[in-house]
Symmetry: C3
Subunit: 146 residues, 3 copies
C-alpha cells in the first residue's frame, strides 16, 4: 500500500512538470525540487537550487519557446523505489509551433532522483536531461537503477 | 486507498480516449462523458451532450484523419481530487500520416473536469482542448486546479 | 487493492520497454516477456521466444536507429484485467534524429496480452504492433478488450 502511494506521488510530481513549464511557472517548477535540488540539461545549463531552477524559465530561450507555442510532453516513467529514495527514467519531448506547424524540437532522456521528506512528500533531488541525438551519454540516463 | 482508486479510475478513463478516437468509435468516446457532458475544441467545435460529442467523430475532418492514418496520443495527466469532483490537465498530440511520413498535426492543452457518479464511476463533465500555438488562452488550460 | 497492484505492475512493465529499446538492451526487452512470448511488428517481423525478441535489437535496422539517436516513447495504456490475464492497448512513437532534427519515424498501435505468473509477476505474452498509416488492421489493435 505504501509502495502504491509512493509510486502514485512520484508519477503525479513528474506529471506536473509539463504544464508548469508550458505556462512559464518557474516558481512552480522549482517547488517540485528539494530546496538544494538541481536540474542539469546537457550542453545548456546546470541549475543548482530552487532560485536557479526557477530562473531557467525566464531565459530568452524559454520565453521564445512560449511565444512560438510549445508543449513539454513527458512519457511514462519507470520508477524504482529504494526506501526514502527513488529513481525514475523516461522521455520528454518539447514540441514547438512554427510556420510549418509543430515540430519535435527536443527529444530527450531524463533521469530523476527523488527523495521522500519527513512530511511524506516526494520531491526531486536531481533531474538530468540530455538530447537523444545519438550521444551515448544520453542513453546512459535511461539505464535501469542499480 | 479511496484516493488511489479514484486516481486510477480517472487515469484509465482518460487513457481510453485515444484508442476510441483512432478507431472512430463516437459512441465509445461519448460514453466517457456524463450524459450532459461537453467537449470544447477551441476554434473548431463545442459539443454539448453525448449525441453531439459522438457526432464529432463522424465529421469529414475526423474521417479524413482516420483515412490518412492517425494517433491521438495523450500525455500523462496531473490529477487534483476534490471529493466527488476532480480536475486533470495534460497534453494531447494528434499524429497524422502523409506522403512524407508522420507529422504532429495538433499539439494541444487539455483540461478535464470530472465527477464521480453515485455508482462510483468517474466520468468527464467537460473537456476543453486548445492548440498550443502561442495563444495565451491555451496555456491557461494547463494551470493548476484551484 | 489487488486490482490496483496488478494495474501498477502492468503499467511499470510496459513503461520499461522504451528505455530498454533506446539503450539496445535486447536481453532486458526479452525479459519483459514470458519465455515463449512473442512480439509481432506488422510487415517487419514476428519474433517468437525470448531469444528471437532479444535479437530484434541487434538488427541493422535497430542499430542504425540508435546511432542516429532515437526515443521509443509510449503513450498511456488502457488496461483490462481478467483474473490472471490482462490486455493493454496504447500508442508507441519512435522519434529519430537526423540532419533536420527529430521526426516521428514510426507511429504505431499496440496491443499487449499479459499474464500473471505463479510468483505474482506480470509478464507480456504477446505484443502486436502496427503502423497507424491508415491501415484498418492497425486500428483493430486499439479496440477495447472483449
Amino acid at each position: 500500500m505504501r509502495r502504491l502511494e509512493d509510486r502514485e506521488a512520484i508519477r503525479e510530481l513528474i506529471a506536473r512538470y509539463g504544464p508548469l513549464a508550458d505556462t512559464g511557472d518557474g516558481v512552480g517548477v522549482a517547488a517540485l525540487f528539494v530546496p538544494d535540488g538541481s536540474y542539469g540539461i546537457a550542453g545548456f545549463a546546470d541549475a543548482n537550487g530552487r532560485r536557479a531552477i526557477a530562473a531557467l524559465l525566464d531565459t530568452p530561450t524559454h520565453q521564445a519557446l512560449m511565444e512560438d507555442g510549445c508543449a513539454h510532453l513527458l512519457g511514462p516513467v519507470t520508477i524504482t523505489l529504494d526506501g526514502e529514495r527513488a529513481t525514475a527514467t523516461g522521455h520528454s519531448i518539447v514540441f514547438r509551433h512554427g510556420a510549418d506547424g509543430f515540430t519535435a524540437y527536443r527529444v530527450s532522456a531524463n533521469r530523476w532522483t527523488l527523495a521522500r521528506a519527513s512530511n511524506e512528500e516526494w520531491l526531486v533531488v536531481r533531474r538530468e536531461n540530455a538530447l537523444l541525438d545519438g550521444n551515448a551519454a544520453a542513453r546512459l540516463l535511461l539505464q535501469p537503477a542499480t
